[in-house]
Point group: C2
Chain length 371, copies 2
């Protein structure tokens, strides 16, 4: 049985992103019990850090002990009851996954479709709400990882609020890369992932729920279909009133890592992190455009941390990404769904959003004939 030594990589795909050595070091500290008072204190500190990152006072803010797709499912299984109508915006892969979630909860999805590569059209959502005033939730993806489009979460959440609907928002790729102002924008149920702009290891999904969402969860008519994700149980594990009750065993070392990545983020400051992502995007954009490479998302709907660009004509997708990985150790992302084979997704997330990475990538492009 051979020990595993990962190759040196520069992670510029859609996540995971490069991890700071401090995070890796924190994760390798000895495991302690998940009910140890010292660990319980750490859980409290992580909750308070996450509140700062989500810019919220929401009491129910914690990391789900599983990846982002489980964070998504946490929102849907707790907030959608059989028979509920949910307006789901679809402009990429993750909006489609939301539809699947609604169906599996016994809800009825009302789909608002936009082209892949475009932001969610607020007017279409307004129209869907007028047509379905009985819908209980509005679900949308803030930053579509499959296309690099950024939607107007503030307007969409305000619309949901005006129509007495609960907003369910995917911020997996947006959190820490662009503003996500949970309280100011009135977002109700928000989930994210640790392996994108927070530059933590993959495997956890930070979530936050407004009082409106929490109250809906506490007053459900039916049991939540998932025992593992039932917030009525989970909130007693992550709560802080001294009566913590055992639910599952938290992934102790991953929580160490999350704590340290949140330390790094808060030391830098949220606004500085947003600015760095934006600055690095500009640098990359200049380099790509000087090579004649085009973005697929209109400039005003573009995510700085996920750059979806057309593959230059004459370049073989698989061969190019393979050489980039094997010869330069650089990972970039392939296109998904209708974009498979026609676009690349270049991530500038968290620690990956730095001058060194941008220049490393651009010079490899030049080497490989894309100049």
């Amino acid at each position: 049985m051979n020990r595993f030594y990962p190759p040196t990589r520069v992670l510029m795909g859609p996540g995971p992103s490069d991890i700071h050595p401090r995070v890796l070091q924190a994760m390798s500290m000895p495991t302690i019990g998940h009910l140890d008072p010292v660990f319980v204190d750490l859980m409290e500190e992580v909750k308070s850090q996450l509140k700062k990152v989500f810019v919220t006072d929401n009491k129910l803010t914690f990391p789900v002990s599983a990846p982002g797709s489980a964070g998504m499912e946490t929102c849907f299984v707790n907030l959608v009851e059989p028979g509920d109508k949910v307006i789901v915006c679809q402009n990429g892969v993750f909006g489609m996954r939301m539809e699947e979630n609604v169906i599996r909860c016994g809800g009825t999805p009302i789909i608002v479709k936009d082209d892949w590569g475009r932001a969610v059209d607020v007017q279409k959502v307004e129209q869907a709400m007028a047509n379905h005033p009985d819908a209980s939730c509005l679900a949308f993806v803030h930053a579509e990882t499959s296309t690099g489009a950024l939607s107007d979460a503030k307007k969409l959440c305000q619309l949901a609020d005006k129509n007495q609907m609960i907003s369910i928002v995917d911020t997996v790729t947006s959190l820490a890369g662009v503003p996500v102002l949970v309280d100011e924008w009135g977002m109700d149920a928000v989930y994210s992932g640790t392996q994108k702009c927070m530059s933590c290891v993959p495997g956890l999904s930070p979530v936050t729920f407004s009082d409106k969402a929490t109250s809906k969860i506490k007053n459900r008519k039916s049991k939540v279909q998932s025992w593992f994700l039932d917030l009525n149980l989970v909130m007693n594990y992550w709560n802080s009133d001294g009566k913590r009750s055992y639910h599952h065993t938290a992934p102790v070392n991953s929580i160490y890592a999350l704590h340290e990545s949140l330390c790094l983020l808060l030391e830098e400051g949220l606004e500085a992190s947003w600015k760095r992502h934006s600055d690095m995007h500009q640098l990359l954009k200049t380099g790509l455009e000087s090579r004649g490479i085009e973005f697929i998302v209109p400039e005003n709907e573009r995510l700085p941390q996920l750059n979806a660009v057309k593959i230059p004509s004459g370049v073989d997708d698989g061969k190019f990404r393979g050489e980039l990985l094997q010869r330069y150790g650089i990972e970039i992302g392939a296109g998904l769904g209708p974009f498979a084979g026609t676009i690349w997704r270049i991530g500038l997330m968290g620690q990956s959003a730095g001058i060194k990475n941008v220049n490393t990538l651009l010079s490899a492009f030049t080497d490989l004939g894309v100049k």
Copy 2:
């Protein structure tokens, strides 16, 4: 924001157990992409290691990207359809959680109750099968972490097989500590946890499914209610026929850790690991009995790796465990449910099952007046 340094602990509770430095070191290696060919190779290697540990040729063998309770839920949501009858054996906390899972899947649980602290009574199960020949599954806990009782998985699975039922078996605390022979015993759906006798970090749940179980999952009448745990999707992510399709982002660094802990286990050898757990149990038992401390489980139904013992009269539970933790850095487990305040659960799991730990604990007992 202060960095977090965990205190030095000796983990002798019901899990997590002490982690070998090699595992912590492996986990702190730089993160690579979850679709990186090098990581995909590692996934294949982990699958083949897990097959050795479960002693099975089952193709569908992999670690669920979440803790043991999600492993439990994976088995139930995939194998129980609305209206299905499931015989659930209850002799502790985790049998109760199984009942909850059946109900949340829309199934009907048929409960076979045994006293807490006793093994599952095979005759009662036989009777329940005779009374409910239409039941589709038999679910039981091999090693009850809440009581330290070991049930006869071989007989129970053979009974399920004889009656054309699928067996769902919790081996969270048994795997690597006592024999778990998946193929030889005809076990169908088996889940475990990494943080017990495998001495890996908490957060993953190894599972394995027989062809009979896999075929049932592929031929379901209804959709699996969980998208995240739907094996029809997950098996395309963990499969090995070259057409791996994206499902979620695997917890890359936790997989590094699991790989290394499986290397350690397989280097020692499964049988040697079972023997070590048994030997350490004998050593602890001698020390405890010489102090007049009694076990709650009859000797022939006792788990070596989880020692449930009566708290000596005159000893204050909370105060004693608090001193053990604060002064000696030793964690032992409290009683759960009807046993809260009356028993301790002393774990000897994985790396924690060593002479040093046993003697450290016994001498601390002496120091604290239990001699």
